[in-house]
């Protein structure tokens, strides 16, 4: 029984980690808390649904489509809203407020276009098989979710650690000005980062949509709140921290449902966040920076 719970927790935690990864990437590189990420998450799920129902794409193509679509939206948001703010050197709360507005607008646009009621993926595209491995029943869907998340996370981690691109991104995270002086194409990498981060958000939207098989316009809201908790727990902008904290939240949630009760499930993330902020104001893995005068 416990093994079963742990396996469920793993698949849930993977999606949280994936979502938080996009979130924390934007903060790390662009220095912006993008609160429209929840809306982009929802947009990814609806994009995949449309691709399957209207364009008759297979599931894997729909996931790729959702990545590209939400990535493009993220890039547009950066281009139209965040870039002018960056150029004006606005205080960091300003882009945060702007993205709150964007999230609200996107949510209600989708609500107007698709209606507020739950939508489902057609059952024939969902893999129905399940396997029994070491006494745990494992659905192919859950395995797929874990696989997709792990592949995306590994690619991102290797890119950040080992490649020229990753080194450039880390340089920008330190100081965009210095990076520009070093000849790094800062604007291009900002665009790429927003594309990838929003794409990851969109894919995690599809995966959660498949997992719970219920899409609704406000589905991004609880995810956004949990994402916030995860990236603070992991230390803002810390990619490995976000992954670990995402997995951790998955386990904490599933175990609390199993042993405490299901109605406080959504409070787990915030309870954890509150406790952690009490002890470590910059997150579990974050380092404290004090401004020097």
């Amino acid at each position: 029984m416990l093994e079963q719970q742990l396996f469920n927790a793993l698949s849930l935690g993977c999606v949280y980690a994936l979502f938080a990864l996009g979130f924390t990437l934007v903060f790390g590189v662009l220095g912006v808390v993008n609160l429209s990420q929840g809306a982009i998450f929802m947009l990814g799920a609806y994009a995949a649904l449309t691709a399957i129902v209207r364009l008759h794409m297979p599931l894997w193509a729909a996931i790729a489509f959702a990545f590209a679509f939400s990535g493009l939206v993220g890039m547009l948001i950066d281009r139209i809203v965040l870039k002018p703010l960056r150029r004006r050197d606005a205080p960091h709360l300003i882009p945060m407020i702007a993205t709150i507005g964007l999230g609200l607008a996107i949510n209600s646009l989708v609500q107007g276009a698709f209606g507020a009621e739950n939508q489902r993926f057609p059952s024939e595209v969902l893999p129905q098989d399940s396997l029994v491995i070491a006494g745990i029943s494992v659905t192919v869907l859950e395995l797929g979710i874990i696989l997709v998340s792990f592949v995306l996370m590994t690619v991102l981690l290797i890119t950040m650690k080992k490649t020229q691109l990753g080194r450039a991104l880390r340089a920008i995270a330190e100081s965009p000005k210095a990076a520009r002086l070093l000849g790094i194409n800062v604007d291009g990498l900002f665009m790429l980062t927003s594309f990838v981060a929003a794409g990851l958000g969109g894919v995690s939207g599809v995966l959660i949509g498949l997992y719970s098989n219920a899409l609704f316009p406000l589905m991004g809201q609880p995810m956004l709140h949990k994402g916030i908790a995860v990236i603070i727990l992991g230390g803002m902008g810390d990619i490995r921290g976000a992954m670990l904290a995402g997995l951790f939240l998955g386990f904490a949630e599933v175990l609390s449902v199993a042993y405490i009760g299901s109605d406080m499930r959504d409070a787990v993330a915030f309870g954890l966040l509150f406790l952690v902020l009490l002890v470590r104001p910059k997150g579990l893995f974050g380092s404290v920076q004090e401004r020097k005068v």
Binding site: I100, G101, I228, F274
Partner: protein, 290 residues
């Protein structure tokens, strides 16, 4: 003429009174913003105030003035307790921690079903709020805040907003002032919640969620925080806008969201901005450098 006014009042009285409570909410977040903090807990404080006072008038038979006092004191007390650990956080962390706090409050309200009616909300709250209560509340709060602005405390808020470290070095008690702004803002939000609950006779946990928090923020950012008129003007526009845009139906919130974005992009100091108005032709004084 009197008939016309009567008619107008019977149709629009709710809208006008909502205007008043929204102005109070906008002023409540103005307080923390004027101290340089983006705290997103005001919707939760409003909810705490609304539930506290409604439970007291419904279940305990408290008179309305006492319930109002409790509806203001309770959020301020909660603000004091959570302010201790959270106000140490800076910028983004504070915004997120207060956002998380708001969610916890909403979930707790749903969970405490025997007291709060859970997800279904509280029904049949006595309609005790008179129009002059709302008017008086707005005038009083405006008066207190105007006095505060010109006092030593108001100047300290401004110094903290401009530069926290420098303010601390000048001998300003940064944490104390932040706590004062946070708790006072919570009390004002609680007042708005109390008046609102006894006006609409129904409250539910959904009213005090993330969307309400964003709406409150929109009002204040739209109006600008350079003066007390900004938040009031912003609340006026945000309250009336849905009426004017009612033909858009489902897409009304799109307008709300886009307003927030456009204001941030093009009018970073809000609509009510003394600098901007001074630059209008005819108002410009000679010899004053911009």
């Amino acid at each position: 003429m009197i008939d016309y006014l009567d008619n107008f009042w019977s149709v629009y009285s709710n809208l006008v009174l909502t205007l008043g409570t929204n102005a109070l909410l906008a002023l409540s977040i103005y307080l923390t913003l004027s101290c340089g903090m983006l705290a997103m807990a005001n919707a939760a404080f409003m909810g705490i105030g609304a539930y506290t006072s409604a439970i007291l008038t419904m279940n305990c038979g408290w008179p309305f003035p006492a319930a109002i006092a409790a509806g203001m004191a309770m959020p301020a007390l909660v603000a004091f307790i959570i302010g201790k650990p959270t106000l140490r956080l800076s910028g983004v962390y504070l915004a997120m921690a207060t956002l998380a706090f708001g969610e916890v409050v909403r979930l707790l309200i749903i969970r405490a079903e025997s007291l709060t009616g859970g997800a279904l909300g509280l029904n049949g709250i006595p309609q005790l709020t008179q129009w002059w209560h709302v008017l008086l509340a707005v005038v009083l709060v405006l008066f207190v805040l105007a006095r505060l602005r010109r006092s030593k405390i108001g100047r300290a808020f401004e110094a903290i907003k401009e530069d926290e470290t420098a303010a601390g070095l000048m001998g300003i008690d940064v944490n104390g002032h932040k706590m004062l702004a946070f708790a006072l803002g919570a009390a004002i939000a609680g007042l708005a919640g109390t008046l609102d609950a006894h006006l609409t006779f129904f409250i539910g946990p959904q009213e005090f969620g993330f969307d309400r928090g964003v709406e409150i923020l929109t009002m204040t950012i739209l109006g600008g925080i350079n003066s007390l008129f900004g938040p009031v003007l912003g609340s006026l526009i945000v309250t009336l806008l849905p009426e004017l845009l009612s033909s858009l139906k489902d897409y009304r919130a799109v307008a709300n969201g886009l307003i927030l974005v456009l204001i941030v992009l093009f009018l970073p100091k809000g609509l009510w901005n003394p600098d901007w108005m001074r630059r209008l032709p005819g108002l410009r004084k000679k010899g004053v450098a911009p």
